[in-house]
């Protein structure tokens, strides 16, 4: 039977009509449920999702810490505020890399200009990893309202634009986090941390220091390198003083890491102060400062924060800022 004749058949017409009804039901449900999720997502008053929203939309801190879990757990904002006399917020978020940091920075730039930005950089940060791209998902809920992060989100996959047609998609896997976040149990959580962004770890690492060889050669992700370069450039243009810091680790490395060497070169070329604490022997001697091989616990973070502040205070860049601004305490 020819196709045209087939379509005229009533059965096919009913079939197509029912298929259309199904699609309509799907779109309506997606819109309704997605809208509910969006509403409650942005109503969060504490917790991880709240802190991300706060970093993008609300913070006006003069001193901004950016990075992944190492940033999040290593830099105690309160100490920075006290000693530097600048309002401080820690935007670090676990498992999120330069893609996330750069996006936060873009949104911040649209609202105000911090005086100092501290980027916590990791060993192997530039290594090609598809997981890093997948985690750009943290930014999906902000796609609609933050056009400045579109370029990063598009890096996630070529289909992202189409997936975002679904209102539910940005909130994939967040259903229970959002739901729990609206209950009273959640509202009673420590809000101090959310005001600072800094999350202390309490565990104490029990194992001995590990000895590892740096993977000499791995593929470097040019996207990440270029984003870092843009980041540096934009800081300069906006008059923001950038510091790049590598946190201590409870690992003795043989050889040098490709990413660390590369970022050192870039920083030196652009005259950005760069401090590498990954081989700092002070920390190697104190297991009790660490929660695990790559993260400091609260004790360690306090010591490290103070150490970093000492370094910053002695840097020529800081003296210039201090003189230019006649700093006074501005804590929210």
């Amino acid at each position: 039977m020819r196709l045209v004749e087939k379509i005229k058949e009533k059965e096919i017409q009913i079939f197509l009509a029912k298929a259309f009804v199904f699609l309509a039901i799907l779109v309506i449900l997606d819109f309704l449920i997605g809208s509910i999720l969006e509403y409650f997502y942005f109503k969060q008053e504490s917790g991880l999702l709240y802190r991300t929203t706060y970093s993008l939309d609300s913070t006006h801190a003069d001193f901004l810490v950016l990075g992944s879990s190492t940033a999040n757990h290593h830099y105690d904002s309160k100490i920075f505020e006290k000693r530097l006399g600048m309002s401080t917020y820690n935007t670090g978020r676990e498992a999120n890399t330069i893609f996330y940091n750069y996006s936060i920075f873009q949104s911040v730039l649209k609202r105000y200009k911090p005086k100092i930005a501290l980027l916590d950089f990791n060993v192997e940060e530039f290594k090609v990893s598809s997981d890093n791209y997948d985690r750009i998902a943290s930014l999906l809920p902000y796609y609609k309202s933050h056009p400045e992060v579109h370029s990063i989100i598009q890096l996630k996959s070529p289909y992202e634009k189409y997936k975002l047609l679904s209102k539910i998609y940005p909130f994939n896997s967040l259903l229970f986090t959002i739901a729990i976040g609206t209950t009273d149990f959640n509202k009673s959580r420590e809000q101090v941390n959310d005001e600072n962004g800094y999350i202390p770890l309490t565990h104490v690492w029990q194992k001995n220091i590990s000895i590892e060889a740096n993977t000499v050669d791995y593929e470097v992700d040019s996207n990440k390198v270029n984003i870092l370069k843009s980041f540096i450039e934009e800081c300069k243009n906006a008059g923001i003083q950038l510091y790049i810091i590598i946190s201590p680790r409870f690992i003795k490395y043989f050889g040098n890491d490709l990413s660390v060497e590369l970022v050192r070169k870039i920083a030196n070329k652009s005259d950005i102060p760069f401090y590498d604490y990954s081989k700092d022997t002070l920390f190697w001697k104190h297991r009790e400062y660490f929660a695990d091989k790559v993260h400091l616990n609260n004790t360690g973070a306090i010591i490290f924060s103070n150490k970093v502040i000492d370094t910053i205070l002695q840097s020529k860049e800081y003296r210039r800022i201090r003189d230019e601004n006649n700093l006074s305490i501005k804590i929210k």
Partner: protein, 478 residues
């Protein structure tokens, strides 16, 4: 091309459209072409291998049938088995066999060089195990006289190449699938809707249940020395659900796809987690493989050695389940896995009368539920060995379950909720299919609006709870 990828659905949609537009008599050729393209998308070179296998077996199949002499019949049968098994061994087991052979030589001090001629990077073509077994079955069927050799080369090629079953089976039978290839396929809206529903369930099982549990399970296993016994047990139990959801979900997508093109492939799973004993389990799990082994290995061995009585059965069981074990891969833990199944069934044979006696003394519901639970625990235990890379790893996990103290590990309540709700839904659907307990049904409701809303909600839940990329993670360091 992964079944849960966007490109697969683009491929599926466009293929279906073209398939029903082109004239009926060209449809098989169309299927042949897109199946070939599908396989080449995975890796271009694969098409040459599969065409070689198809051609050789096509010719030998006809030769077996035409041979007048019984001697020649057997010769050609052995030739085809030799070629097929040879190819399988080359790609799958060569390195394993060589390494173990040289280890053995080393043990008796005959090995004095370190140069093992390993074939570096022999990558196993995806699907090879499935279609080699299918082809061997075809050959044996011709030899037994239960089917006729397929003279139509295009149809015989489609029998092997048909893309829905190409990568993960089911292992089809000639008498089940070849007749379907010979029909004229007409558009039937039932096929489209039934197929689409099946695919939806497959996606649910794979994305919402299997891939979600996988994140938790792999994190726990990677740090198993630091995990508590309760965590290890919990992860192992979840792993059983994971493997079931993963494999049966993928199979659902395969069967649903085939259905949309008008084909009925063999059922591969029949609510295996509700099995009452290990023999029953293997009649419900990976049915196309276990029935293949039953028809082409177990029965012949047992009947040939029927004078041995129960020892013939035991011998058949061991051979059969070792084959099933190593079918999964070239490693000793798969052999052990197979042996475990064989011993369990041997135990069931021996204790048959005793267990029947016990069952009569206990309330049937309690006895049945206890049976299901015990069988489930045995399967979970077997899977610990199945998924461990080495025997010592498996032993450590089992030791850990009994000896390690501590609380249940989870990074946040949301993780537990996603996993448990996913398993719960899957279990409820299976229980309903098995026992038909609930009179009201959402997904088979007579009212088409109720059905549509239910399936829409299913897709919505997949959007909400499915794992779509590698971005999900659980942080565990201590």
């Amino acid at each position: 091309m992964l079944f849960n990828s966007i490109i697969y659905f683009l491929f599926l949609g466009s293929s279906l459209l073209l398939y029903y537009i082109i004239p009926t008599k060209f449809r098989n050729y169309f299927l042949l072409i897109i199946s070939g393209l599908f396989y080449m998308y995975v890796k271009v070179e694969y098409i040459f291998l599969i065409l070689f296998i198809i051609s050789i077996n096509y010719l030998i199949g006809i030769k077996i049938e035409k041979a007048h002499d019984k001697k020649w019949q057997i010769f050609f049968l052995y030739l085809s088995v030799f070629v097929n098994v040879g190819i399988l061994i080359f790609f799958k087991y060569w390195n394993f066999l060589l390494k173990n052979f040289f280890d053995f030589l080393g043990l008796i001090h005959l090995n004095n060089t370190d140069n093992i001629p390993l074939i570096a990077e022999v990558v196993l073509p995806i699907g090879l195990s499935y279609y080699i077994f299918q082809t061997i079955g075809y050959m044996i069927d011709i030899h037994r006289g239960s089917i006729k050799a397929e003279k139509n080369f295009a149809q015989f090629s489609l029998f092997t190449l048909f893309f829905p079953k190409l990568l993960v089976g089911p292992i089809e039978r000639a008498n089940h699938f070849l007749p379907q290839i010979k029909r004229n396929i007409h558009f039937d809206k039932q096929n489209i809707t039934e197929g689409a529903k099946r695919i939806a369930w497959g996606l649910f099982k794979k994305l919402v249940v299997a891939d979600r549990i996988s994140i938790y399970h792999s994190t726990v296993i990677a740090s198993s020395e630091s995990q508590s016994g309760s965590t290890l047990l919990f992860a192992s139990v979840l792993y059983t659900f994971q493997v079931y959801a993963d494999f049966s979900g993928y199979t659902d997508i395969a069967l649903g796809t085939a259905k949309m093109f008008g084909f009925d492939l063999m059922e591969n799973f029949k609510r295996p987690l509700l099995a009452k004993n290990v023999s029953d389990f293997w009649r419900r799990w990976h049915i196309s493989l276990s029935s293949w082994v039953n028809d082409y290995i177990f029965n012949p061995i047992v009947l040939k050695n029927r004078d041995w009585g129960i020892w013939g059965v035991f011998y058949g069981l061991i051979i059969s389940f070792v084959v099933i074990g190593i079918w999964h891969g070239a490693a000793w833990n798969y052999v052990l896995f197979g042996l475990l199944q064989a011993f369990a069934i041997m135990y069931e044979f021996i204790t048959r009368k005793t267990r029947k006696r016990i069952s009569k003394k206990i309330h049937p519901v309690i006895y049945d539920q206890a049976s299901v639970l015990l069988t489930f625990l045995f399967v979970t235990f077997s899977l610990i060995i199945f998924q461990s890379g080495t025997l010592s790893e498996a032993i450590n996990i089992i030791k850990g379950i009994f000896l390690n103290h501590g609380d249940l590990f989870y990074d946040k309540p949301s993780t537990l909720l996603f996993m448990l709700i996913g398993c719960g839904i899957m279990l409820i659907v299976d229980i309903q299919a098995e026992f038909g307990r609930f009179k009201f049904s959402l997904f088979s409701n007579k009212n088409w609006i109720v059905q549509q809303v239910s399936y829409a909600l299913l897709l919505i839940y997949i959007l909400l709870a499915g794992v779509f990329d590698g971005g999900q993670f659980i942080y565990f360091s201590f």
